[in-house]
Symmetry: C2
């Protein structure tokens, strides 16, 4: 199908997906570029593909002006896809639990590290930045299609899993070095908000406190880096 | 001194420092907020302080409109300082060598991790993003005042240090696990551009190749995270 008018109802609908409100309402989101479309196709969530080039496969052939209007990037991609949101699956044994992460780039980076280090699930607090934000998707480098996401009230969630999972939280003072922790089969790593850290009520649910040893003149690491180092140490690939 | 006009020559001069060209020309840069000003003061590089509040110490008391014009942040800080650029010092024994890092946030994050893990110097290629970019400074959380920077042609630099330093570069295929590397007293870690990786000519100068073990479905990590994990493993604090 060919579309040439910026006022076409489809175009308006796709543009709206740049806002969280409409993504939630429709259960859809946008991805841009070949790498992401390939990963999303493997996962089976691609609904429609748009392109301004008749040389590639697409459901809708649109003008460059339309691509530009829908795209969030500086240079327009070859193809944009409308995808269905990922379905929540049953959690497995290695969980990254994120409390109120606010920066979409940080969230994307953590998704990428979680897949790299063999985590099975990412649990997002209700106040974490939207998984389907275009910056999150971009920073994840397509890795969001390789892991299960659950969005839930973390307090309830942690109470529920506590008897079956080791729950690690960071504490720069009383924490044990992460390299010294004996990891159990079922493990959940809690990471807090970039500025505020982990909420006190969630910290209370931890079964073990860990830290990354640092020089004294440095108080903390970037949240994405800290999460990356902790997950790296928890990976089985290092032995 | 009190300034009320947006057209005051001082105001124009300070605003220009938001551009790299003028920072280079004047040898000056801007920092915002109390934490950064404290760190810069300890380092002795603060030249002038501006504020719109007469309740704090400053050299120039300006209007809120002027603060807003000079500031790069959404909410204006209590104070802004004009600082002298950092002087290059003689390099010591633990070097982070950055080739063409383009994202100022990534650079700031790496500075923060380098200080955390006891690195002594950061060597910047001539095409690395500006150290004095406001996003770099903000992401470094003031840690740029705790480490020595040298900006230099990396090819020349590596040839020069090669006989005295172990030079580590990453290679996902042939690299040894970073946790298994025997670190020497003098060591330099090479990190390449976010998209392109390390330039071939620089890779040739490496004495050891290392890797971070990852699951197969993940090709790479965010550059800041990868650098963080490598520096963490090279730190003496982990033992």
């Amino acid at each position: 199908m060919k579309i040439e008018s910026l006022n076409n109802p489809h175009v308006k609908e796709w543009c709206k997906l740049k806002e969280k409100k409409y993504r939630d309402q429709e259960g859809l989101f946008l991805i841009e570029g070949e790498h992401l479309i390939l990963e999303a196709s493997k996962k089976g969530v691609v609904k429609k593909i748009l392109s301004s080039s008749i040389e590639v496969d697409a459901d809708f052939y649109v003008t460059e002006a339309i691509m530009k209007k829908i795209s969030s990037q500086k240079s327009i991609p070859k193809r944009i896809a409308v995808c269905e949101k990922l379905k929540e699956e049953k959690i497995k044994n290695r969980l990254l639990v994120l409390d109120a992460i606010q920066d979409p780039g940080n969230l994307g980076t953590m998704i990428r590290s979680a897949v790299a280090f063999g985590f099975t699930d990412i649990i997002l607090s209700l106040d974490t930045v939207d998984l389907y934000n275009e910056k999150t998707i971009r920073a994840s480098e397509g890795m969001l299609f390789h892991i299960n996401f659950v969005k839930i009230d973390l307090n309830d969630f942690l109470k529920q899993i506590k008897k079956d999972y080791q729950i690690l939280a960071t504490d720069v003072k009383s924490g044990k070095k992460i390299s010294r922790i004996v990891k159990k089969e079922n493990v959940a790593l809690l990471i807090g908000n970039e500025g505020q850290g982990l909420k006190e009520e969630l910290k209370k649910q931890a079964t073990d406190f860990v830290k990354i040893p640092m020089q004294e003149n440095c108080e903390s690491l970037n949240a994405g880096v800290a999460a990356g180092i902790l997950m790296y140490e928890m990976s089985d690939l290092n032995a």
